[in-house]
Structure formats: C-alpha cells, structure tokens
Symmetry: C2
Subunit: 471 residues, 2 copies
C-alpha cells in the first residue's frame, strides 16, 4: 500500500471539473462577498477544505483539482492528513491555542518536548533552533542573530556595551545602531517586511513605495540547460557570480555582515545554483567574516529530495543559519554555533518567541516524513516525473523550455515562450482540473506534496500533454 493510500484511502482518482470557467459561479459569488471584508482580488477560487483530500483540493463549485502548487508551496503531506488531524486535536494543542504562552518567560512543561520534536527536522550540521512566525520573520530574526554575532566578534562576545553604544542606539545612530549590510542576490525572494524586503529583488510589486536599506545585490547564476551539455559555460557562470559577490563584500560602502541566498531561487523563477557555487560562497564568507544564511523557506522539508535542499551541496563547514517556514508550518532558523545565542538574554526575544500550536504540527510533520521515508519517495517520483516531462519537452519544445530540477525530486520548473503563454497555461490547467503555480514571468513551478506519487504524476503529465496539444 502506498503512503497516499494509507493516509487517504478515499483520495479521488482523477480531477473533477464541473464549471467551464475558473473561478466557477459559486466561487465568484464567494470572492465578491469575501471582498467586502478582505482583499480578495488575488483569490483563484474559494476552497472547500472539508472536501479536499490528499493531493486534491476541492472548491465550492464541486471542482476537484489535482494540486501541484499546494497552497503557495506550503502544504507538505496533503489535505486532511490523519496524523495532523490527531495532532490538532491533542490536549497540548488545545493548551497552545487557549493559553498561548509567552514561552520566553512562562513556558509550559510540554515546551521542551515540542521543541525536541521540531529539532528532529534539523538539517545535517545544525542542532539548534530559534522559533518565529513566518518566512519573513524567520529571515529577519536570522539577520538579528547575524548582526549580534558579527558585532560580538569585533567587540568580544562577553564585552559589555559602551556608554556611547547605549546612548546612540536610542537615536538609531552608530555605533549603537551600526551601519551594516546583508548581501543578497538579484531575483531573490526573502519576504516583504522592511529588512526582508530590502534583500528581496524578484518583482517591483513586492517592494514599491517602501523605504529600503541600501544593501548590495549580487548576481545569481543563470545556467544554460541541459546542465550536462553546458558544464563549461555554467562553471564559468559560477566563477563570474562568485567574483561579483567578493567584489561587493570588499567594496560596499558599509560592512557586509551577512549573506542570504536560496538554494533554488523560487519566486524569482526557479533558478538553480550548483554545489560548487554554494561551496564558493562558503569559502568567501569565511574569508571575509560574513555570516552565511541559507533561506530554505520554500525549498525545505523534503521538496528537493533531501530534507533540506542545501544538503545536496555538502557545504563544508555547514552554513551558519538556515531559515525555514511554509511547508514546515512553523518558522525560524537552525544554527549550530552556540555563539549565535546572544551574550545577554532579552536580545533575541519577543512576546511569543514562536508559536507552539504550529510547532506541534511541525513536529508531527517531521515524524510522518521520517517514519514513512517520504523524502526518498519524493526523490523517486521526482525522477519519474522529470523523465516524463523531458519527453514532453521534445514534443513541445516551444512550451517546455529550460526544464530544470533534475535530481531535485519534484522541485521542477520550466519556461514558456512568453508571459502570456505561461499565464494561459496556468489557467487552462485549472480548467482541466490541475492547480499549478507560476514563478517569475514565464516559468511554471511544480510544488506538489510529499505524498505525490507516480499515479499522480501520470495524471498531471497526461493533462499537460492534452492542454499543450491544443495550445
């Protein structure tokens, strides 16, 4: 029995399409009504989560879609997973919701166990976690940890703050509020608050009208595909981009304290970087005393065939901070150097210090993934799916360009010939019962769950073939 059969014995065996337009009439009515209390302009359809199961999401018109987007790449195991339902009904969950504790001051006696379950999901080389609330929050908390660490190296970890630091910080002035930068990459997405927004550079709409820190943007490699046929070009591209990184670090007008990067730039177009590139960044960051932060908000929790995508790269020594959210349900950063815990308490602190309710779900997710070997299974189904898509790419070379994600499980993407065609494809796939997402302007990204199996891949490929044949 496959895992999807075990979890979801009643999972649909094919999509059901009942309306010719998406959203259908009931969804359209719901979107209009919801619009009175919420910005419903970006809503695709009104979901019916009672009727959604496993890899299928239902809407209020009775349409049932095979879901290879999984919210915004944020559902790990599928809808109505029985293990998560059990976790949601547990007495510790009720307490986490009703007695939402300020865990930094008044942790409950179950907190230690909750965190230990979360920690079972840590990347190789990391053994500690700090908890936050979202991907943007996780990245900004990591920046705080990075800045404190960077300054403590200059000052001495146990050295007290100077009177001047204590005084200037209250005026947002240096040296108490030092002018330090985080280096990121063009096309990156790390969130939409003000520091996370300052390192994001995928689309203007995410950032327009907001003040930003004047932080540098390096270039993320743009490879030629297929990778195997373009090894020399791509190695030169890595070298070119690494050189830019080092030049920015040594020449920027303020010190670069940290570098943040995605193992695959997701929102920015599913741009992949090589193991050599990521090791090169480790070497440069060590040489120049820059904190190395890997943002695994979208790539984490098994989606690429390793529990954490950067494990593909065997980066040595391990990156300093690894951030997570989305599919993990809880958010935060992993670390291993105890000096990322600040020298004084209350420096990395806030009222809630994370959210035990979602940490309980995260712990249950890690347990299910490990006990059912879901990362290896995702790798296997990903290879299968990639092979099928590579065949379709031969058949439809205009509509499936730059197929990428080989060897990265189901974390697969490709480009169409134009933004209009890409958008038309996303819509026509919905009309044929497949919920699929895009990224950047011309890319389609696949982000199915970890219970997406060959039978689901076959349905997806067959519908894609049908849609493209009419394109």
């Amino acid at each position: 029995m496959s895992v999807s059969e075990k979890y979801y014995p009643a999972e649909p065996t094919a999509p059901v399409v009942k309306t010719t337009t998406i959203p259908g009439p009931e969804s359209a009515k719901g979107i209009k009504s919801l619009g009175e209390v919420f910005d419903s302009r970006p809503v695709y359809f009104i979901a019916d989560y009672e009727k959604s199961l496993g890899n299928y999401i239902a809407d209020v018109d009775g349409n049932v879609y095979l879901d290879v987007y999984a919210q915004i790449a944020s559902i790990a195991l599928g809808y109505n997973n029985p293990a998560l339902i059990e976790a949601a009904k547990s007495p510790e969950m009720i307490r986490a919701l009703v007695e939402r504790p300020a865990i930094g001051n008044f942790p409950g006696k179950d907190l230690e166990g909750i965190i230990k379950n979360v920690l079972k999901g840590a990347p190789k080389g990391q053994n500690n976690v700090w908890n936050g609330l979202s991907g943007a929050d996780a990245n900004e908390l990591a920046f705080k940890a990075a800045f404190m660490y960077y300054q403590s190296k200059q000052r001495g970890y146990d050295t007290a703050f100077s009177a001047q630091e204590n005084e200037t910080v209250m005026k947002n002035q240096s040296p108490g509020s030092p002018d330090l930068a985080v280096l990121s990459f063009k096309r990156a997405f790390h969130g939409r608050l003000f520091a996370s927004g300052s390192v994001t550079a995928s689309k203007p709409v995410h950032k327009l009208d907001f003040p930003a820190f004047k932080w540098p943007k390096a270039e993320y490699p743009s490879y030629k595909y297929p990778l195997a046929e373009n090894a020399e070009y791509n190695a030169a591209e890595d070298a070119r981009c690494l050189k830019i990184v080092e030049e920015l670090i040594t020449s920027w007008h303020i010190p670069v304290a940290a570098l943040i990067i995605e193992p695959v730039q997701s929102e920015g177009g599913d741009n992949h970087g090589s193991a050599a590139f990521f090791q090169g960044l480790r070497d440069i960051t060590l040489k120049h005393n820059v904190v190395y932060i890997i943002d695994e908000v979208q790539t984490g929790l098994g989606a690429t065939g390793k529990l954490w995508a950067h494990e593909h790269f065997n980066i040595t020594p391990s990156p300093d901070l690894v951030t997570f959210s989305k599919k993990f349900q809880s958010a935060g950063y992993w670390f291993h150097d105890p000096k990322f815990v600040p020298n004084q308490s209350y420096r990395q602190f806030n009222t809630w210090c994370g959210d035990p309710a979602h940490m309980i779900i995260a712990g249950a997710l890690v347990k299910e993934i490990q006990e059912n070997d879901l990362v290896a299974k995702a790798a296997e189904v990903g290879d299968y799916l990639y092979g099928k898509l590579a065949e379709l790419a031969v058949k439809y070379p205009q509509h499936i360009q730059k197929l990428r994600g080989q060897g990265k499980a189901t974390f697969i993407a490709w480009d169409l010939e134009s933004a209009d065609k890409r958008n038309a494809l996303l819509y026509k796939m919905k009309q044929n019962g497949v919920n699929v997402g895009g990224c950047a302007d011309v890319s389609v990204r696949l982000r199915p769950t970890l219970t997406f199996e060959k039978k689901h891949a076959d349905i997806f490929v067959s519908i894609l073939d049908k849609v493209l044949s009419d394109f």
Copy 2:
C-alpha cells in the same frame, strides 16, 4: 454569579506557595533542561497550564499564583477558558491548523465568517482589518499600508508606476524605494524587527547591534501626578511635546509619512498621554499629510475600560490605522479609508496573510467580551482597585509613587524609589503568590485579565500591603 464563577467554578480562592524560592526546584530543573534546546535565561518558572485556571497560573512545583501580568499582558480572559476551549476544538480550527491556507489565493469557505467575527472587535470609527501574525508584524504591515497610501497621494491613487520607479526599486534606490520616515516617540515600544525596531526606543537591549532607519523620535509627555492637581503643568507639557512633533515633521531631512504612538507607553514605563495630546496629534498629522497610527498591541481589547484605549480620547476624525496583537491573540491593523487598500493586488500580501487559527480564537474572545459586558466590568473593578492602591500609596509613599491609570480600568502602574526596590518587589510578590510584571526601570504594571474581579483585587492588595510592610 460573577463571570469568573461562571467560567471557572473551580478557580482557586487564594494563591498557594509551596517553595521558598521562585523558581522552585522542579522549575529550576526544567529551566536547565529546557536550556539545552531554548534560551531559557529569561524564564521565571515552568508553568503547568493544565492546572492553571482563570486568574491563577500554576507552576510545576505546585505554586499557584494570582496572575496580574497574564503572560506578557497577553491573556484576555484567564486560563482554560471554556469558550476558548470549545473554539479550539471546533472543526474549523482543525482545518485552520491542518490545511493552513494561503488565504490570499485559496481561502476556505469559512474565512469570511472568521473575519467578520474578528471585525466585531473593531474600534469605533474603523470597519476594516488586515491580518498579521504579531505586534511587530502588525506595525510593519501598517507601515507598508501607510507608505503606499502616502505615495499614492503624491502620485495619484490610480497612476501607474513609472519605468524609473520599477527600475530603481530593484536596487533599493529612490524613487522606487523612497526615503520616507515614520515618526515615533522616545520610550516607545513597537516591536523588535527592523522597521518596528527603528521606532522602538524604550531600552538599548531591544536594539543594540541592529541597523536602523534614521527616523525621528519626538517626546512623549511626562506628566506630574496626581493629574487633577497638576492640570496646568500637564497641559503645558502636552503643548511642548506637540510643538516638538510638528517641528520634527517639518524639519526632518526626509519626509515623515507616518506617525506611530501608543495610547499608554507600556514597555516604556506606563506613560499616559491626554485626550488633548492625542487630538493635537490628529490635527498636526492632518495638517501635514502624515498617516496617524495608534499602536494598541498592549492597550487593546478592553484592558483600559474601553474596548480600545484610544476610544477614551474621542479623536476626530478617527486615527488612520490602529494596530493590535497580544490579548487579541490574532494581530493586524484596523482601518476605515478604503484607499488604505493598495491600488493593485499583491502589494500588501504574503503566503499566509494572517493566521485563521488565531483569528478563530480572536473572534471567540470578542464574542465572550461583548456578551458578558467584560469591558464595563473591568472599568468597575479597575476603579475599585485604583482606590485601594491610592490608600496604600498614602501608607507607603516611597514605594508607591506616581500611581497612574485612574479611570483606565485595571491598566494601573506606579513607580518605586529605585530599580533595585522595584525588582525586589516583583520577586517578593511572586514569593507570596502573585505574578506581577514591571516596565521601564522603576515601574510596576498591572495587566490582569478581564475576569479579574473585586475578590481578586482584594487578594492582590492584601498581599501587596503585607510585602510592603516588610520592605
């Protein structure tokens, strides 16, 4: 039958103290053990939430404290509230946790009802809400709304972005990333991320080593007490502070797009501002086209005897944005001008757009508060408690100075003669079975729940009297 009797028929009738030191031996063991996976240095004790009830929090040593701090001012109704337990067990809660939706793209059919229940808690003059995850997040989301609104007034609400804006924003440069400021106040606390941290100025420990936006800090009034005897001085203080605000707005080196202020500066020492001061800020912000943001993260949800503290001031017209979190359990900002919804979708957006699980709890809280008339009851018990404390202030003039919060329900604070004495009082209160918090350096702040009644006030006052008599 009082509300606390209705909710908590088995609520303890007095604190139980079993250990001579706090934390007791079991808590100390738990703190040490927790410290292996979490920064447990700020932990007061390990709570036992199964055994906590109503206004009493239990720890793992069997101590049971009357809780007038309520986590960090973040529990509205008391522990193990039956109405919240029911909400936590509801099918819609299970779905919100297990199918955590990206509600901007794939809202469930229950979302509209969930938001409408939240909206029943809106302040007078506000009729719309945008949802976030924490107080810091709420404030930064409000800043985003404010910056977009401010720029749209310059540009025209429906005017498209220029090519130059679209290009410069990707480099964090003006005009796409404009240099705009948020004005805040000395001693303010608005959170600990980078923009929220830039408007926070209560203690260096919240901010040291983090880059900050160069934004101005005005002065929050420092009144003389009792207020009634110092009306002339305090009116002059309002005028002095308003003048500084206007001078900063007109002279700061970059435009001031927004102003953020707490109705009572809580973390910064329970500093109160008058209705005239808050109306003065409305007049100045209107005159200079500055967005007026009231931060009700700590003061909101009935704690001051109005549902929202700024309702004491009858500000006309209503403030533009009002932020909330903490006791509300869910976070976000209220608004009434539809132009605070940006002209394009995806400008105020993120994966989750809030957290339906905590929004469900928030809706249940609002319902309980309104059906049981808990705001009026808090006002009544607050008057009673203030009267008793005013008597103690005569008896212990050194230890109860500048008693404040009259007419603001139980949102009461006072100063001790020194930080050492204040810290000693907080500790001795715990040793006598009362969990109470401080703020700034020398202040004690009371933040009991809305089910804190005269019988609880009597116990609190009696223990405080005993502790102070030995002081």
